[in-house]
């Protein structure tokens, strides 16, 4: 029997190729975005660990007030290796066009632990200075550039001899001031006051898992507030924080995409089950129990969901390394695909659940009715009396819009889901416009901690949402055409012109798009304000100018008109006599 149910399910999928393909694409997009969020973080770990190994990184990094205190840490229990205490002082870096405070370390040879890794030139400063790579990039400096280092002891014009990275250093300007390395005598000349120095001690442990405990011992052994530490886990988290805004935005878009997809899937599943009331009756007539009929539909949805999840997983895992590029700026090598199989499960479960549960609920109700009642319940009715229907009826609009709106209101759940899907997509566009306005508002030449990938990411996600929403609209409009082909025949028989018939389909979508477009403006602005404050934005956020925002409802209506005009043409093509024969 199970084999029979599976065969019936596959026959159903083959007979509705458009709906099948669309469901897979939509569910795949949702699963893919979920996987992307999960993968971005994991993907970044790989290059960080390679960087840590190459730098012979410190399991515990301590920042102390004196060299003696730093030296004392080298004999702590559990420490297996340590470098010479390294002095640091804050100096001023002049590039000719701007001055930046700079944390300068004075090296006495190559550090044994937590040594800078050269990414261009050399990591050994000699008579010059080595700059941390992200700092050099932001300031537009490269090997051979000449800069001025100044401090209380004077100033020196000095050559940039290399750029380097460290696993304990996150990207400039998120980590500000930036870091540079010189020979110790240079530091001593520029900052002769040793009381202004800090000392860095890099420790490696026999048991890296005990890093937190060792760090606690270091802090407890010093006067309060004089020592700070960073375990290797904290260094990693700090480095990976680059991805925090990306992850926040990815998460927000994932929620929006999921909501849009689930709204559309809800419409598609509901319409499919409604359309299949006759098939349900036939299956019951040949001897299938209600439970078995429900199982056929659930198997269909589950198969679609599984295919969608696999496709989404592959796409999400493949895109993750590109999006993780920002945090890799302070690391060795480019991120590689982590492709954690657990993410397949985490992303797959909600997508599969929504598909299966919505199908089960819709099918179960209909399979428990008698065939007669099932057919009756699938019959269209005028909208229930309400303030909305009375208002719609009182509006001085033409016959096509009046008929179209009445029909849309008759299927209120679908109208609400479609409006919600359009509104969410519109708010994503408002969010992107606000982000662009905020970026445009920055003073020219100022360093920014906004990852370079962020605008591209937001626009890509907007494009995905727009494509998903527009494809869904075309599908829902086609579905409406198929459901109402007979009605269109009646309208033509009564005297509506083809243009008016098309208008009965397009105009209610345009009205919904207008409403959704207007709603999307405050929702999108609200989302931007929340994301801005959660991701650490300072001051009042800059919002998109009103001139841009006005374009959102207008653009929404135009795009929806475009998306529904092709199905509307289909609606007008069918000859009246043929349309009236459709049962």
């Amino acid at each position: 029997m199970t084999l029979t149910l599976v065969r019936l399910a596959f026959a159903g999928l083959r007979s509705r190729l458009l709906a099948t393909t669309l469901t897979v694409l939509l569910a795949g997009a949702a699963a893919g975005t979920l996987v992307l969020v999960l993968e971005v973080r994991d993907t970044g770990r790989d290059p960080w660990e390679r960087t840590f190994a190459a730098a012979h990184g410190a399991h515990v990094l301590a920042d102390l007030p004196t060299g003696e205190a730093a030296e004392a840490l080298r004999s702590l229990d559990g420490v297996t290796e340590s470098g010479e205490p390294q002095p640091q002082a804050t100096l001023q870096l002049g590039t000719g066009t701007r001055d930046e405070p700079l944390l300068v370390a004075g090296l006495s040879g190559t550090p044994a632990v937590n040594r800078p890794i050269a990414t261009s030139g050399t990591a050994e400063p000699g008579a010059g200075v080595v700059l941390e790579r992200s700092l050099a990039r932001v300031l537009g400096l490269e090997v051979g550039s000449r800069v001025v280092l100044s401090g209380p002891g004077g100033e020196e014009e000095i050559d940039v001899v290399g750029t380097a990275i460290l696993p304990s250093q996150s990207r400039f300007p998120r980590s500000n001031p930036g870091v540079a390395w010189v020979e110790r005598p240079v530091l001593e000349r520029l900052q002769p006051d040793r009381s202004a120095w800090r000392w860095i001690e890099a420790l490696r442990l026999g048991a890296p898992g005990s890093a937190r405990a060792v760090a606690d011992v270091v802090v407890r052994g010093a006067p309060p507030g004089t020592v700070s530490t960073a375990t290797w886990q904290e260094q990693r988290d700090l480095a990976l924080q680059e991805a925090a805004p990306l992850q926040l935005i990815l998460s927000m878009y994932t929620v929006m995409l999921l909501a849009v997809v689930f709204a559309v899937v809800g419409v598609l599943v509901g319409a499919r089950v409604l359309e299949q009331t006759r098939e349900i009756g036939l299956l019951k007539a040949v001897g299938l129990t209600p439970r078995q009929v429900t199982a056929v539909f659930v198997i269909e949805s589950a198969v679609l969901g599984l295919v969608a999840i696999v496709l989404g997983y592959a796409a999400g895992a493949a895109l993750a390394p590109d999006l993780a590029g920002a945090m890799a700026e302070t690391m060795v090598g480019a991120p590689t695909t982590a492709a954690n199989p657990a993410h397949l499960v985490v992303a797959g479960v909600p997508v599969l659940l929504v598909l299966v549960v919505s199908t089960w609920v819709a099918a179960r109700r209909r399979t428990r009715m008698s065939v007669f009642n099932a057919l009756q319940s699938g019959r269209a009715m005028p909208p229930r009396r309400s303030l909305l229907t009375r208002a719609a009826r009182a509006l001085p609009v033409g016959v096509p819009l009046h008929v179209g709106v009445r029909t849309f209101l008759a299927g209120r759940a679908r109208a609400v889901l479609v409006t919600a899907a359009i509104a969410l997509t519109g708010s994503a566009v408002v969010f992107a416009l606000s982000m662009q306005a905020a970026l445009d508002d920055r003073p020219a030449g100022e360093p920014s901690d906004v990852p370079a990938e962020l605008p591209a990411l937001v626009y890509s996600l907007d494009a995905v949402l727009l494509v998903v929403a527009l494809t869904s609209l075309v599908a829902i409009a086609l579905l409406s055409v198929r459901e109402r082909l007979r009605d269109f025949g009646i309208l033509k028989a009564v005297g509506l012109t083809p243009r008016q018939v098309a208008s009965t389909l397009v105009s209610p979508f345009a009205v919904l798009a207008g409403v959704a477009g207007i709603v999307s403006v405050p929702v999108g602005l609200g989302l931007f304000v929340v994301v801005y404050s959660v991701s650490g934005g300072e001051g009042d956020p800059v919002l998109a100018p009103w001139a841009w925002l006005v374009l959102v409802p207008v653009g929404t209506v135009l795009l929806v008109l475009l998306a529904t005009s092709v199905p509307a043409r289909v609606a007008t093509r069918s000859p009246v006599a043929q349309a009236l024969r459709i049962d």
């Binding site: 016959v399 009246v576 006599a577």
Partner: protein
């Protein structure tokens, strides 16, 4: 009398993917203004196809259709829609009411299309439904009405703009005998007001009420027979309760 509606050598062949199926084969027919003509014949003889072509609901494979001096079969879909709106009322066997509109709204539709104001259209629709004896069901959904009630609404919709020509494809075919008698009475009342009627039917009572009966077989007109002048119309309800 002059011919209001005329078919000249009208043919229609359906292409169903296999061999072409001829449904109508060179039909010539003229309907005079004010006439009540009934087309009868066995199922599949081409009655519905003929009415669809005459009403501009379908396009002929060959031949011509003329309505009051206008060649209908060459009109664009838009022009056809305008013509139907002004000149034609059509009643179907299965009513074909719009399921998402109430009974009253279904009747208002052609009135609004003809340019009436909404309030005026509503008043007219309610009056017509009252006249047809279903005024109390004006706000009901089509699915909440019986077959006879639905056909009365469909008839009200067809007559709303007082078209020159009212066509019906088996208008009593889905009704019980009481409802069928009532609907026939209403159509005869329209004819008595001067409207031209063309009905396709299997119902002998309908045929008996006509001025002329056209018999079809295998897509051709095989016989035309003039009937006795119509007997006085007996309405199934009081048309003027006042």
């Amino acid at each position: 009398m002059t011919a209001l509606l005329e078919a000249r050598g009208l043919s229609r062949t359906y292409d169903t993917g296999g061999a072409p199926v001829p449904a109508l084969d060179g039909v010539d027919l003229a309907i005079e203004r004010g006439e009540f003509v009934v087309v009868i014949g066995p199922s599949g003889c081409g009655k519905s196809t003929l009415l669809n072509l005459l009403a501009g609901l379908d396009r002929p494979s060959a031949g011509e259709v003329w309505l009051d001096g206008t060649r209908v079969d060459q009109l664009s879909e838009t022009a056809l829609a305008r013509l139907r709106r002004r000149r034609l009322g059509f009643v179907f066997q299965f009513f074909n009411l719009l399921p998402t509109l109430t009974a009253s709204e279904n009747v208002e539709l052609p009135l609004l299309l003809a340019g009436r104001r909404r309030r005026q259209a509503r008043r007219t629709a309610h009056r017509m439904l009252d006249d047809l004896g279903i005024g109390d069901r004006a706000d009901a959904a089509p699915s909440q009405l019986s077959g006879g009630q639905q056909q009365r609404v469909a008839l009200a919709r067809a007559l709303a703009n007082q078209p020159d020509l009212v066509m019906g494809d088996e208008p009593t075919g889905s009704l019980d005998s009481t409802s069928a008698g009532e609907v026939l009475g209403l159509m005869r009342a329209a004819h008595a007001r001067g409207q031209t009627l063309l009905l396709a039917t299997h119902d002998a009572r309908v045929a008996a009420a006509a001025d002329r009966v056209v018999t079809m077989r295998d897509g051709r007109v095989t016989r035309e027979r003039a009937m006795q002048p119509s007997r006085p119309v007996t309405l199934p309800f009081d048309p003027d309760p006042a």
